[in-house]
């Protein structure tokens, strides 16, 4: 048998790997919520448009991206499984029906654009249009409920705090979806998505404050952690980003607005991470230190991720630059 020396007993280079992996898991979740978030948001905004060519344009706008964006959820699941197997097993089995709801929503959303373009009769497109909207709204909503359950340790299907976090997440996807669509479309559609985006950002901020209030009422641990300087600072920054987002939309700086919505998303995920730490699964009373895998497996995964994640970022840069700028009139899903 090979002797792996200190690789098998100590974290690589003495790095605080458990904490880094905790942060990485949430960074991956944030990337998913931002990237696929604007796809979800585009799906919600799809519901507000009646015009056939506008609907087709929305589908064409997310066409090349959504599948790659959704893979961040797969990587989130994989990273959680690899680094914190016990937390993955506990969380996922406890929120059994909820996660199958998320999966069903993702199936509806994923199939819909592909199916929508297969046939051009009204009934077929009405059905798949609805499926697209329902999947795009339900997926972030149920992920929000899951996040609330993660924080409180509950396994309720629906609870006031779950609904609040779920709606906050839906609002956030509309915020980034509006900014994304403004970059990808032109004409009346571009003008029309500004107002829903602005309303969504206000709704989001209200819902975040409401969620934090409800969370602090739910468990004593959360009551203590919600009112801490880092969390309050992030909320203040979010309000600032919200103002900046509206200003950017009104002055036509859509890329800036998209960046602001991205920062809002990472900010939200950071709040969730702060509320959990040093635990990773309050429901099973598991701390990061208890749930982390043994050093050898962790070291291998750390090296693999350090090599692969920069490559993954490169793929996304190539993809997004190949499809930079607005959707062309000849392009469809």
């Amino acid at each position: 048998m090979t002797d792996y020396g200190s690789l098998a007993t100590e974290p690589l280079f003495g790095l605080p790997l458990p904490t880094l992996w905790f942060a990485l898991v949430f960074a991956i979740l944030g990337t998913f919520l931002f990237l696929d978030g604007f796809d979800f948001g585009a799906g919600a905004l799809f519901a507000t448009r009646e015009d056939e060519s506008e609907r087709e344009t929305i589908l064409a706008a997310i066409g090349p991206f959504w599948d790659g964006n959704e893979v961040w959820l797969v990587v989130f699941g994989g990273a959680l499984f690899a680094a914190f197997p016990a937390a993955y097993a506990n969380l996922f089995s406890r929120n059994y029906l909820l996660l199958f709801g998320v999966l069903a929503a993702l199936i509806l959303r994923g199939l819909a654009p592909e199916m929508y373009e297969q046939r051009h009769d009204a009934a077929w497109q009405r059905w798949w249009g609805r499926s697209f909207v329902a999947g795009s709204v339900l997926a972030p909503f149920l992920l929000g409920v899951f996040t609330a359950n993660w924080l409180t340790g509950s396994d309720a299907l629906l609870s006031p705090v779950g609904v609040a976090v779920g709606l906050a997440l839906v609002a956030l996807t509309v915020v980034s979806g509006a900014a994304f669509l403004r970059l990808k479309v032109s004409g009346p559609l571009r003008a029309a998505v500004r107002r829903p985006g602005e309303r969504a950002v206000v709704a989001y901020l209200v819902l975040v404050v409401l969620s934090l209030g409800l969370l602090s009422l739910s468990t004593p641990r959360l009551a203590a952690t919600v009112v801490t300087p880092p969390v309050l600072a992030l909320v203040a920054v979010s309000v600032g980003l919200g103002v900046g987002y509206v200003a950017a939309l009104r002055t036509g700086r859509d890329l800036l607005a998209l960046v602001a919505s991205g920062l809002l998303t990472y900010g939200l995920v950071a709040v969730v991470a702060l509320l959990l730490f040093p635990l990773i699964d309050p429901g099973a009373d598991l701390s990061v230190a208890e749930a982390i895998v043994a050093p050898l497996a962790l070291n291998i995964m750390s090296v693999a991720s350090a090599l692969l994640l920069p490559l993954v970022v490169t793929y996304f840069v190539v993809l997004y630059s190949a499809f930079g700028g607005p959707v062309q009139p000849t392009e469809s899903y």
């Binding site: 066409g63 790659g68 097993a89 089995s93 999966l103 199936i107 592909e114 994640l309 190949a322 062309q328």
Partner: protein, 475 residues
Amino acid sequence: MVDPVIASRVQFALTTIVHIIFPVMSMGLAPFLVYFTWKEVRGGEAVYEQLRRFWTKIFAVSFVVGTVTGIVLEFEFGTNFAAFSTFAGELFGGPLATEGMMAFMLEATFLGIFVFGRERVSDRLYFVSSLAVAAGTWLSAVWILIANSWMQLPRGYELVERGGQTVVHLTDPLAAYLNPRFMFMYVHMQNAAVESVALFMAGVAAYHIFKHYVWGYSVQEVDFWEKTLKIAIVALLITAPLQVLHGDMYARHVHETQPQKFAAMEAVWETDSYVPEYLVAFPTSLDDITNPRAKELFGLGIPGGASWLASGGDPQATIRGLNDFETEAPPVAIVFWSFRAMVGLGFWFILLAFWGGYRWWRGELLEDDLLHKALMGSSLLGILAVELGWVVTEVGRQPWVVQGVLKTADGVSPGLTGTEATITLAGFVLAYASLLALYSYVVARIIRAGPPGAEELRTFVTEADEPTAGAPGDD
């Protein structure tokens, strides 16, 4: 309410049985698409652009359905098999995470360019995208099979106590991940995917050719289908014999490393030498006819055949019977019959390949109606053979989820209730049946619509300001 253990097993089986269809389609199509794209960007005949565009449509649909059904699988380890995930996560989670980062990401991003970006990127980047997509699909299988091969042949670990539970502790990653089983599975699976897609292509092409020449409909692009059929036959001539040769080596490896599974494949109950290879076998009592674990078999077989196969040439070799294992036997009839059906299909595909090759060589490829009927009838049999092979692999190792270490029933989430499991199982049956119906419907529509016509191609070529390619089918 269904028992949560049974519901979880059925649900997972259903998820994998449906899911595997789509990776087979994408992994099998990938090398063809790389070839078509290469010919297209190198200024080959217009038929390659038609081939690329037509089969990319089917690839894209398969990929989307593969993505949505694949995420379900990854989640089910946590939702339904939490005890297994906690137990084996240290060793099992890594390959899954790596699959996501290394393979799935590569595939999903470059697929965006490959499907939507022909007009947006250079020929070079477009070809690179086809390569990246293909590499992504094939790398995906690497990591999934590394994880699966460890469950078949666990190595490089020890069992330790953590948090009051016995869990797998990774001690030797090289032994665990460079598992001898992996290469057998990988070669067998990837070759099977290409073979299945070649059969599918041949069946679809034969359908259009038959429709044109026999039924007398005017099929627009009949040359395109002739080209498709020829490419499929070449692929079949390579993959079909390889699959059987390689399968024989794989079976010997199973005999060495998972004797209980091998005994189930051959329905050997008592340890014996000079064991016959049964071609068919039935319970002698009618009461046992529906019992997959029935013992009293009436069989017709080749004397010494199973011993000969197990040992690689010695008809006297001993095979350990199922009664000599401490754990209960897997459902023998399912494993026995799946194995036979798979092997039978494997030989049938070789026959088809040589039949098609012979007709082509004689210049009669378009004239043999019986061949076309056989190809049409066999278009989905490759996928069926893959399913049967996985049934042998996965049902054959029951009751174990990790061979000899953890039983499947002990891997199910302890907190899962019968109500929850029943709700999702019912939802699954409904959702996956609709998903399959929808997928078949869409693929059938794409097939009926056929490739883009020559008019469409020329428009594209002038727009992109490239030299005008010839009309399709001018070879």
